[in-house]
Each structure stands twice: as structure tokens, then as C-alpha cells.
Amino acid sequence: MCTMYCPRPVVDTYNERLDITRAPHIDYAQAIPSSYYIDAKACLRVNYQTCNLCAQTCTAGAIDFTQKPKELELEVGAVVLAPGFGRVDEKVLEKFGYGRFPDVLTSFEFERLTCASGPTEGHIVRISDQKTPKKIAFLQCIGSRDETCGNGYCSSVCCMYAIKEASVAKEHEPDLDISIFFMDVRTMGKGFDDARRRAQEKYGINVIRARVPRVDQVDGKLALTWTTGDGEHHSALFDMVVLSVGLESPKDADIISKVADIELNQYNFCRTSVDAPLVSSRQGVLVAGAFQGPKDIPESVTQASGAAAIASELLADARNTQTITVTYPDEDKALEEEEPRIGVFVCHCGVNIAGVVDVKAVRDYAGTLPGVVLYEDTLYSCSQDALKSIAEKIKENRLNRVVISACSPRTHEPLFQETLRSIGLNPALVEMANIRDQCAWVHAQEPEKATEKAKDLVRMAVAKARLLSPLEQPTVDVTPSALVIGGGAAGMSAALSIADQGYKVTLVEKNRQLGGNLKRLTWTLDGQDAAKVLKDMVKKVKGHKNIEILTNAEVESVSGYVGNFTSTVSQGGKTKMINHGVIVLATGGREYKPKGYAYGDSNRVLTQLELEEKLARGKGFLRNAKNVVMIQCVGSRGDDMTHCSRLCCTQAVKNALKLKEVKPDINIYVFYRDMRTYGFYEDLYREARKAGVKFIRYTPDRKPEVIKQSRGIKVRAFDELIGEDIEIPANLVVLSTGIAPGDNEELSKIIKAPLTSDGFFLEAHAKLRPVEVAVDGVYLCGLAHGPKSLEESVAQAKAAAAKATIPLAKGKVAVAPIVSKVNQDICIGCGICESLCPFSAITLQKVGKRKKAQTITASCKGCGICAAHCPTIAISMGGFTDEAIMAQIHAFSPDGCEEA
């Protein structure tokens, strides 16, 4: 209402100034807090004491112009800085025609254009003529890797987001011709290289390795010229140019630094160190996210959890002193047992659903179904306001079953379940019909049929809803201790954090000594002595009263479920039983041992780690060395391992600089595919080039060859710049061999934690749950999750510790009510269910004389495999009883409602 009546149009900054809103507005429907706010700069009432229209029209009386800014004083034990990143200055963008040519956009603007709830409802149009472009160019490294604008670092995320934006655009407009201009393709995140390959193959996105110097406009088209590595000049015209702008430090970084009394680095980001990546220079002030350095969502989320862990360590003594418990009203059992009174809410999801499906028709149709007493449509069912109004309507109409016809239960069911709980209904009494994904999205071209299908789905959901019954929400006690598997940098960091938070930890290490891969490292990437970092860590772990260390030990079996695990650990032939509440997987990875490149045939061919070990022992072996050749991506990004090992580029650059330091006249040649020295490591890359290290790009179809000669070895490779094969007599060849997964298969079977195709453990959700695995109570960090630097391992270990202590601190875990239930009168004890259960959540127990299946409710994920395979139909699933599913299937036929 307030937005509607306000006479002051203001530029919509959320939509990157591509749209107009009014002084009182909400940025987007799912914003938190989900209330409207007034743009004080534009408001007539605030500036000129006139107007006041909005306050008069607000029916809730929620606009109060007498409010004044308040200063609050809070007493806290730790501060977490997470101000995010700042924008690259527009002056930098002007060089590329931004501001001068309307169809040169930033990637942020393009992101809004591709968004279904954005200014163009997801249609990609040129700003100049509102026409759909045919050719789009993405220019990378705008405001990154560019010393002329002061940003010498790499922003780390732009390569991947450009590929994502290009893919989204291609999905929307399949005929688009998209080219992305890269310097190096830096898709080093977990699974990113796969995504890039898919985008190139599936969508035909052109990858061009060139830096475009400027953008020119001719007749409304945007002209680009560039030079490729072979020296050829090219030019072409595009309809739209997207500038992939980098991440800068926040504009007010200086103020933050002053207020919080912390040090910044040379680029105005928060200064941290490799062994304590989340800790600022001031005790108790922590940092997470892009303010610590440019990073993507999974890493930001990881760091956020990690910072929370450190805060919990600092506040361990104060835990549970100021908790507030949410109380729910008692369930209205009488109402639940009444004849079903069903309410159907059909969601518009903005235009996501309503753009295709005739929501009003679906709503009215729902009204004709048996048992339905209320049928309504809502704009965004999941917004706070809508949830409140749904709750009120349920109460008013005494509903005891609710059907939400909207999006996926996977993402939104908990929200609606919570709403039911808040008004005294059992959360199991809500059913969802996914008319967004299954109608509006997949049948976008056929709105009528999509509407019919939506009606079918609603009818089926209503049929099922009539047979829903309340389910109990059991809780189980938690054993307040953790098992950390793996005693490397990640495992030790996680163990320390959990122990510092006041819980017992058992740290299991396969080898004789703690340390893992860190033992082999000589210098950290920021030049610290790795041995010292390791020594400090081991000392802390060994001296901690809460940590029990088992070396030479391996986990043989794990049984139980979140809160109540029992593991057997074998140590020197003896086995030991350990009870614990949670598990942290920190099993690490290992250096890939290469095949070919004369590795093993010649003592002049080493891996990067072997070089470090030699260098640590002294520079004697370099006495007669003139030429050193380094070869990147040996093993990685190839046939043996498809993933990028993320840190070998930086490691090579670091070691090259070290070689130059001890022997300045040595020639170093680095053969690479893409130099992936992301973030501030870009500085090392630049330093290496300045020091005279020669970098030569190769392509996977023309890999460098290491040739053994009667005396010494030489490397032959194709140099793209001169277009010829070159031969370098090498005194030393150093292979950047990357990181292979450890022996994860065995453990993966024991814990039932799935692996990726590359052999690393798979997280529960790449972005939102990066340190949890699919099995409850099991957490993940370090190289076991994927290749990463020491700094990232430590941050992730802290994050895993934060997540692991949640059930420990709560003391109880709630079990999802959708679990299997065995009717032991019918069960014949055949054991099929036990053998099939992927979560070890069903076991055979002796009941009387015979064995009967029994569900371990805390471990059960409700997948239903047991119920589907039970030969005597003795197993039923809470929330998915056979009767309810049958009713749902019968309802698929339009006149099936009565039958069911």
C-alpha cells in the first residue's frame, strides 16, 4: 500500500538501477527482515515535512515518522566482521564504455536481467532498444588483476559466475551466441571445472583467451578488438557486452578498521594469516567472507561457520547462560481427529508460477474438491506476511489439513510445517503440490496444459492430505563428545576447536605421528615456516585435556546415529570401543604420483613437494643447475583426475620464487594451462614474472614431453606465442602433481557418506551446507572434501567444528518424523530391509524367538527403500503411508477422488 501511494519514484538500487520503485519499498519479496523501509533521502515527509500519504494509507499503522536513530551499547565476548565486498569504481568501467554505451552492462546488472523477479522478468534485452541481443561478450578481470586501478589481486569468483550467467542466458535464449574473454580460466572450485566443461559443450559458449583493451560502439553495436596468443588480431561486433567486475574491499574498510582497531592488508581487506585465517589482528575480533579476501559462496559460508566456532571457543564458559527457548502451543488433538477440513493455498510465487499457470483457476478448482473448506491464492506463500496470514486463516477456519500448492517441499516444507506447529497443529498435516517446478517451469511454453497439470497435482495432494495423520516428533539424548578421523592440519584444528568449546574429542590418526600432509610442507603460501605451524598445532593438541589422541589407529566400524554413535577403532592389533555424538571426517588427501614425464626414471624429475623437501635440506643440489622446468596440471584436469587441484599453481609460483631467491641466475620455465593463482596469490604470480620466471601456456592436446637423453634430460613443448616447438635442456624438472583423494572408499562405506566422482567426500549442499555430509552428525573438512590450501583447510576445520558442536551443545536431537515404522506382527524377519538401507537405520533384533526388523528412528532419513522392498508390506513410512499414496495415485484420474 505504502509503495503504491507514494508519489516519489526512486531508482531501484536492488535491481541495479534498472527499475524504479517508490520511497517506501522492500528490496525483494524474500528479504530479511521482510518489512518495508523508507528511503529517507527521497521521502517528502522526512525532508520537507509534507506528504505523509503512506502513514495514512498503512492499514497496520506501521509507519511512524517520530522514530529517531538510536545508539545501542551491547556487551559482547566476540565480534565477527562480515561486511562483504565493495564495488569496483565506475571510473575503471568507463574505459570499457560503461556509462557511455547503454548496452555495456556490469555482471551485477546482467544478473538482475536474468532473474525471473528482476526488472525484465528474466528476459534478456538490450537497454538501448529493448530488443533481445544475438551476440553477447563477457569481459573478465574488470577491476581485477589490474594494477592500473590498484587491484592487483584476482577476485576468484568472476570466471565461474560469468560461466553461470552465460549458461543461464543460454537456457533462456538458446540461439544466443556468447563469447567469454578470459586471461586465465580460473574455475578452481570443487566441481567447477566440470561445470565449465558442461557449459562449453552443452551451450557452446566460446572461450577466448585474450584481454580486450576497450569497447567501441558502431551503429548501436559494440565493437571489440583483441589479439590471441598466436599473434592474430581479431575484431567482431556484439549486441551486448557484460563486464565481469571484480570484488573490492568494502568502501568503508578504513572506517571499519579504525572502529574495530584491526589491520588491513595492502588492498584494504582484513589482514589475517595462513594458520589463523579468521582472526584479525585484534584479539576477539573475527572476520568471515569477502572482507577477508575475495571468495565465493561455499567458502564464505564455511568461513562464517568457522568464525562462529572461534566465537564459541571464546565464549565456551558462557554457553547456555542466556538462552531463550521457543515454546509451541499444545497440539489440538481434538481438531486433528475431526473430519478433514482442508485449506488449499495456491502460490503465485511472483511471476514464477503465475506467469504461466492460471493461479486463480487452480484456486477455484481446488474449491470443488471434497473436504476443502478454504481455498485462496497468495503472492509469495513463503514470505513472513503470507505465513502469518496463512496461520490466521487456519485458526479462523479451524482447518486440520493444509495443502500448499507452490514450490518444492525439499526447500520449503519445513517453513510451512513450522507455521502449523506455531498454532498447535502437528507439522505432518501439511502437504505440498509443486506446481512451480513441475508445471510453470517445465511447461513454460504451454500455459493451458500447465494449468491443467497444476489442477491434477492439487487434486492429488488434496486426496493425500485427507489421509494424513499426525506424527510424533521424538528427541534423543546426545553423547557430548566427538570423534575426529584424521590427524592432519584439518583434523587437529577441528579437534582443538571442539575441545576448546568444552567437549571431549577422540582424535584418530592412521600414521604414527600427527601432521598429515603438513609434515611434508616446508613453507606455507605466505612464507611462514610450515614446521613451526605444525609444531605449535601438535603441541596444543597434545596438551589439551579434552583431547585423546590415538595414533597408528584406524576406524573399523561406526554404528548408531547422530548423538549416539559407537565406533570401533583398532590400534596396534587391539580394538577399542568409543561412544560419541558426532563425527568429523578429516582424512586428508595425498600427493598424486604421476605416470610418465620420466618420473621415477630420472632423479632429475621431482614433484613440487619433493623439491620443497630438497630445498629445505640446503641448496647444494642446485650447484650446477641452469634451467628448471615446471609442468603444471600433471594428473589434475586430465585423464587420471578430472578435478583441478586448486593450489598447485600457487605452490609452483612460490617454489619458483624460492629457487630465484637462493639462486638468482637460474632460468625457470613454467608450462601451464591456466595460472590459477587466485585471490592475493596473484601477487606472487606477478612477483615471479618480475623475477624473470618464464610462463608458457600449453593445451591438453599438446602436452610438454620430458625426454631422457644419454646425459641429462630435456623438455620439448609447443610455444603458442612463437608458434614453434621449443626444447629446453633441463637440470631439474618439477611436476605439479596435484592432490588425489585419500583412501576414502572404505570409510565411505562404513559411514555411508557418499563420494564425488573424483573420490572426495560429498557435502550435503555445495553452497549452503559445505561442511556437512548427507548422514546426520557427520561433518567434513580439509583435503577429504577436496583440494585446498592450508588456510582454507583450517577455516573449514573450524566450520566443521562449529557444526559438530551444535548437537553436542543442544544435548538432544530432534528426529524427523518421516521415518519408517515396522509392524512387527507382520514382519517375517527376512532382513531385506536391513541389507538395503543406505543409512544403516534398520536392524534385525530378536523379539521373542524370532528376529524382527526395527527402525533406528534417529538415523532414518525416510527414503522409503525398506517399505518399498518389504515382501509382507510390514513397513510403512510416516507421512507417506500406502493408503495416502494410493489415494494420491487414484486421484490422478479426474474422477478418482470418489474411488479413493
Partner: protein, 123 residues
């Protein structure tokens, strides 16, 4: 189709002529000669272009006050003026030769010039 000959200095026109032709932004019969500086153009060269079959000839140089070589484009403009005079004497349309100016690296003025000259040549 008329033949147009353009002389451009190194600091104008950043886009390849072929790319422009491919998009149909410039007349098919356009030929461009790139010079380090238009200041080195002599009148005979302008006239030779006509002898070699051009229907119209144009020169694009830097803005007079921003010439990379200080006075190059000014010199060129004077020579174009002189060439116009000669065309007049030969009873040809002096508009068939023209001087244009462009900002650094700009392609649009060159394209615009080619279109103007193509128009004049077809009249």
C-alpha cells in the same frame, strides 16, 4: 555499388574492416588504407585514388586539437581542401573528397564518413 577509398590515421578506427563489412555496417565497396598519421598524405595520393577507380575519397584523422602528432590532421585537412580545388578545376564534384575527424580509437566516425561518401558518390 560505388568504390569508396578512405585514409585513416592509426589512432582512429579500432575495429577490423572485415568485421564491419560482415555486419553490413559499411558499404561493400569500401577500402581503407591505414596510415601512421594522416599528416603524411600528399595531394597526389588523394587524386591517385580517383585514378585507381574510387568514386569518392575521404580522410579521417584525429581531432585537430588532439592530434597525436600535434598538427598531422590539420595538415591533412589543408591538403584535402587543396584536392577539392583541383577537383573543381577538373569539373568534378569537390564533395567527392572530404576530411573527417574522430576521437581516439573511435570507429563510429569512420563508419559515418564512409556512409556520407557513399551517399555522395551515388548522387
Amino acid at each position: 555499388m560505388s568504390n569508396i577509398k578512405g585514409f585513416c590515421c592509426n589512432y582512429t578506427l579500432s575495429v577490423d574492416l572485415d568485421a564491419l563489412k560482415k555486419e553490413g555496417l559499411v558499404p561493400e565497396g569500401l577500402e581503407i588504407e591505414r596510415l601512421p598519421c594522416t599528416g603524411r598524405l600528399e595531394v597526389p595520393e588523394l587524386l591517385d585514388a580517383f585514378t585507381e577507380g574510387a568514386d569518392a575519397v575521404f580522410v579521417v584523422g584525429c581531432q585537430v586539437d588532439k592530434c597525436h602528432n600535434l598538427s598531422g590532421s590539420y595538415r591533412a585537412s589543408k591538403r584535402v581542401k587543396y584536392a577539392k580545388k583541383i577537383l573543381e578545376e577538373l569539373d568534378m564534384d569537390p564533395g567527392r573528397v572530404e576530411m573527417f575527424f574522430a576521437d581516439r580509437g573511435e570507429t563510429e566516425p569512420v563508419v559515418e564518413a564512409a556512409r556520407v561518401m557513399s551517399e555522395r558518390a551515388s548522387n
